[in-house]
């Protein structure tokens, strides 16, 4: 469970009960709306995906920028595999019910049932929305602006009172020319830390193997 510590702080909030009205989805203004509609239509045709990624994390806690490379496999409706090849081998596979992770240092597979940690679902839903391009559904929680029209660059800022606003300052998404998937995503946190992920060699709708969703996979 150790690799899932990031989610632990959020579990604390399972203690706090309150009625939260589900926000009605907001209608995005044009041309942003048109762009989102186009993206939703394109991304909607993506059933699976495989891509290399380069992630750069600029964190106050670390001396230097951390560069992480690896592969992401995605299969709708809810399977994600994140295989890191450097700086050390690490895998996490997320399905609808469980999260499984492995790393080359401990060499142990840790598994957690999402239902045992209710707030995990909230985090995973957010991740899923960013990685699958379902940006229309995020408009209830984020204000969106179009930073560039071609290729599309969208900037999202958490709305007032939204939980993510406690942590995130902005999320910027750069789409590919064909708008079928992300080319890059950049997250800037309130603390000033930032993460940028660039996707390369993206294959849309590949036939994914079983081994793509196994932890401990070697690239």
């Amino acid at each position: 469970m150790t690799g899932l510590r990031p989610f632990l702080p959020l579990l604390a909030c399972a203690a706090l009960a309150g009625a939260v009205p589900a926000a009605e989805p907001e209608k995005a203004p044009d041309p942003l709306g048109r762009a989102l509609d186009r993206i939703e239509a394109q991304v909607g045709s993506v059933r699976s995906l495989k891509a290399s990624f380069v992630q750069e994390k600029s964190l106050k806690a670390f001396r230097n920028t951390i560069t992480i490379t690896g592969t992401i496999c995605l299969e709708k409706p809810g399977r994600v595999a994140w295989h890191v090849s450097s700086p050390l081998r690490y895998s996490v596979v997320i399905t609808d019910e469980v999260i499984r992770q492995w790393d080359e240092e401990t060499r142990a597979v840790h598994e957690v049932r999402i239902s045992d940690f209710p707030v995990l679902r909230t985090v995973l839903d957010q991740m899923s929305a960013w990685f699958t391009g379902s940006y229309g559904a995020l408009l209830g929680e984020y204000e969106a602006t179009m930073a560039q029209e071609r290729p599309v660059i969208l900037e999202f800022r958490p709305r007032e009172g939204h939980p993510a606003g406690g942590v995130i300052r902005s999320v910027t998404v750069g789409m590919r020319e064909d708008e079928r998937y992300l080319e890059w995503i950049r997250i800037v946190e309130k603390s000033g830390d930032s993460t940028r992920i660039r996707f390369e060699n993206t294959v849309i709708n590949p036939k994914l193997e079983r081994s793509d969703f196994e932890v401990g996979r070697r690239d």
Partner: protein
């Protein structure tokens, strides 16, 4: 003596016939009018024993904010419905609930200001850390542990979720906050549900159900209030979209369902009895005029209900449920008088009295003995600790005495001369009682007694719970979806809030010895009382004084550098070691565990409701707290009721045998008169064992009633033999048994398991008692030299 009173009363009523009939009619009319003013009490507490543990549990259920919860599970039944649509429907439903009935409605978790809350939880640690916690933290401060932790944190960065983790990494690199988080997670499990949080809502693992938890001030035992909230819920649920469905779980549904079933059964049984009795009149007696006999118990019941209400101020629905049974019992007196009058019809005078009066005089003794033994049987009900039984006894005794009076002093003046007819007309002379009949009766009885040794006793009150199956199915579905756990509660009560919290804190270590911390949901360890807080903070500061902090700073610097951390990466953490501790950042959570009551403050801790854990927790709590357990509560009620049954049975045997002896004044005759009663018990237990049905609280009570009835048959048949009665005793006993069977038989149509059980018991018991009285008693009297007719 009784005959003397009867003579005086007969003289008066003969001379003032009109006035007597008018007076009775006026009384009955007043009674009928009074019925419309009587408010019946649906409170089920009346049918529970007044035992200290039971009352305490009931008071908790009534006043706690635990039992007043209504759980609504809304389902997206159509696969086309999205989660967003489901959650919108849930929010609309939650907003539509009347705040007067549901002042608090919870649909999920507010995750606002996560960062601030996390920081507050981290700052809480000095205020809640125990010596054990500090020992655990000490174990985190070695070079190996620090290096491993920093490396683990680094690996976290590699995960997709790591993008949100940096804040806690700098403020809590060693993960000390997990100490508080573990307690918080255990505390949240007090909800007892397996939920996921989506978009701030409670959602099931399959994503097709969402949960609403509504609190209501209406007590579960308040039938009227329960109906109000259920009606309100029904109207609101009707507004859900077509593709949505809902299941509701709450104690109020059980209360209303039991009352509805009981009311429906009362209406049905009375309606059937209203048809069945006239049919009995025509088929068995051949005289529709005998309907007057069956009117007597109805009139007596009308008057008895009013009198009982005046005396006790409230009457339970369960009392009225026994109305058909009491009617069947108290009609016997009128039957005996009627049959005696028919047997001695004609204007011949005997001993200076009209033949009719003489006939009634002959049966006055046994009829009165019979009424008094039955009344004595109901008197035994006052030995029970159940208030409902006292009401039942008072109502029944009044009905019986009024029926007796009407049968002896009113009925003879309103019945016309008729020849006896019908199926039972020829029964009197039939010589059914013979040696072979006695042998047959003895053999069957012995065989059933042998079977009776296998009888099982079902102590669970669920056996007599009339809750509709639909409600139980809804609760099952809800349990399957949400994994509802049964939780028991440790309750600490004190006048002052801090006193209650202090006792709870003191008990916390003992509670943890009984139940693993992950299964113990308590505010202890999260929200300490001021002096405990001060003590913990002082201990925390002492812990970090001296070399410990310096050592840690050095280790973090060295190992951090090795793992690529910045030089000042952990400054927020190190500075935070000395900051003022925060107050508990979850007031909403506190409300789940701390409740203000009229008597003071109640602090609750929750754990799995298992019998072994409940016992150990009760021992751990001692006299400083008490444990409320739904499962143990049922066992306690059953045990107390069983103790009551033993007392009531002993009292019944004493009263019935004593009164019988007073009238018969002969031990052998008394023994023979009790044979039908003993037979009824033996046959009942034997048949239940043969049918695989257990003995339960309901049929134990009915068994007492059967004993009282069957001893009446024994008294009459013994009297007949001993004093050579020629008043149609066999006919009367047969008609009495038939009428009781009709009165009890209608209960077989009842849905409520308690009423059904009572009906079955009386059917079997009365049949057995009748057979013994007609087949065995005359022969036994002859064998004992007590048969005057020989």
């Amino acid at each position: 003596m009784i005959e003397g009173w009867h003579d005086a009363a007969c003289r008066y009523s003969r001379r003032n016939r009109g006035k007597v009939v008018l007076a009775v009619a006026a009384l009955v009319a007043a009674g009928a009018a009074g019925l419309t003013l009587i408010r019946f009490d649906g409170n089920i507490e009346l049918m529970l024993p007044r035992h200290a543990a039971v009352l305490r549990n009931l008071d908790f259920l009534r006043t706690s904010n635990v039992s007043g919860k209504v759980v609504i599970s809304v389902k997206a039944a159509s696969p086309k419905a999205t989660l967003a649509e489901l959650l919108r429907a849930v929010d609309r439903l939650a907003r539509s609930l009347d705040p007067a009935l549901f002042p608090e409605v919870v649909t999920g978790v507010s995750a606002k200001d996560i960062g601030g809350r996390l920081e507050a939880i981290r700052r809480l640690l000095p205020a809640v850390a125990t010596p054990d916690d500090l020992a655990a933290i000490d174990g985190m401060l070695t070079r190996e542990a620090v290096a491993a932790k920093l490396r683990e944190n680094y690996r976290r960065m590699l995960a997709p979720g790591g993008m949100f983790a940096d804040a806690s990494l700098r403020s809590d690199p060693l993960g000390m906050t997990s100490i508080v988080l573990a307690r918080l997670k255990a505390a949240t499990d007090a909800l007892g549900f397996r939920v996921e949080i989506r978009d701030g809502h409670f959602v099931s693992a399959d994503g097709r159900h969402a949960l609403i938890i509504a609190s209501t001030p209406v007590a579960v035992t308040d039938a009227e209030g329960s109906r109000r909230i259920l009606d309100h819920l029904e109207s609101r649920l009707a507004g859900l979209p077509e593709w949505a469905g809902a299941d509701v779980a709450c104690g109020h549904a059980h209360t209303v369902s039991n009352e509805d079933v009981m009311k429906r059964d009362i209406r049905l049984t009375m309606a059937i009895a209203a048809v069945a009795f006239p049919v009995l009149l025509v088929a068995a007696i051949g005289d529709i005029g005998a309907a007057l006999v069956f009117v007597i118990p109805l009139l007596a019941i009308v008057l008895a209900v009013n009198l009982a209400y005046l005396l006790v101020g409230t009457l339970s629905y369960a009392v009225m449920g026994m109305g058909a049974v009491v009617a069947g019992i108290s009609v016997d007196y009128g039957i005996h008088v009627y049959v005696a009058l028919r047997a001695r019809r004609g204007g011949r005078r005997a001993g200076g009295r009209p033949a009719r009066e003489a006939a009634v005089r002959e049966v006055t003794g046994p009829v009165t003995a019979s009424a008094l033994t039955t009344a004595g049987m109901f008197l035994a009900f006052f030995f029970s600790r159940i208030e409902g039984y006292h009401q039942m006894a008072l109502f029944a005794i009044l009905s019986i005495l009024l029926s007796l009076a009407c049968a002896l002093f009113v009925l003879p003046h309103v019945l016309r001369e008729r020849r006896p007819g019908g199926l039972i007309a020829a029964m009197e002379g039939a010589g059914w009682s013979s040696g072979a009949a006695v042998a047959g009766w003895a053999a069957v009885t012995a065989a059933l007694v042998a079977c009776a040794t296998r009888i099982e006793f079902q102590s669970s009150m669920a056996a007599i719970d009339g809750t509709a199956p639909a409600i139980l199915r809804a609760e099952e579905r809800l349990g399957e979806v949400w994994g509802k756990k049964d939780l028991a509660v440790v309750v600490v009560e004190a006048k002052e809030r801090d006193d209650a919290l202090r006792v709870n804190e003191d008990l916390f270590p003992r509670m943890r010895e009984v139940v693993d911390q992950r299964s113990l949901a308590t505010i202890a360890g999260l929200d300490p009382v001021p002096e405990t807080r001060r003590r913990n903070v002082a201990r925390w500061r002492e812990f970090w004084r001296g070399s410990r902090e310096e050592n840690l700073r050095r280790l973090l610097g060295e190992e951090g550098a090795r793992a690529g951390y910045a030089e000042d990466a952990f400054e927020p953490f190190l500075a935070g070691l000395h900051s003022d501790p925060a107050g508990a950042p979850f007031s909403e959570l506190r409300e789940r565990f701390v409740q203000e009551t009229p008597a003071g403050t109640r602090v609750m801790s929750f754990f799995p409701d298992r019998a072994d854990l409940v016992r150990r927790m009760e021992a751990a709590a001692g006299d400083r707290a008490y444990v409320v357990s739904r499962n143990a509560f049922a066992d306690t009620v059953a045990r107390v009721v069983w103790e009551d049954m033993r007392r009531m049975t002993a009292a019944t045997v004493l009263f019935v045998a004593g009164i019988t002896f007073l009238f018969l004044r002969n031990l052998k005759a008394t023994g023979i008169a009790l044979v039908p009663a003993v037979t009824s018990v033996a046959w009942l237990l034997g048949f239940l064992a043969l049918l695989g049905l257990p003995l339960n609280v309901a049929n134990l009570v009915a068994n007492l009633v059967v004993m009282g009835l069957c001893v009446d048959y024994g008294i009459f048949m013994t009297y007949r033999s001993r004093y050579g009665l020629r008043t149609g005793t066999v006919r009367a006993v047969t008609l009495s048994a038939l009428s009781t069977l009709v009165g009890a038989g209608v209960l077989l149509f009842a849905r409520h398991p308690a009423l059904f059980s009572i009906g079955l018991t009386i059917m079997v018991g009365v049949t057995a008692g009748y057979i013994a009285s007609v087949l065995a008693v005359p022969r036994l009297c002859a064998m004992a030299g007590l048969d005057l007719r020989r």
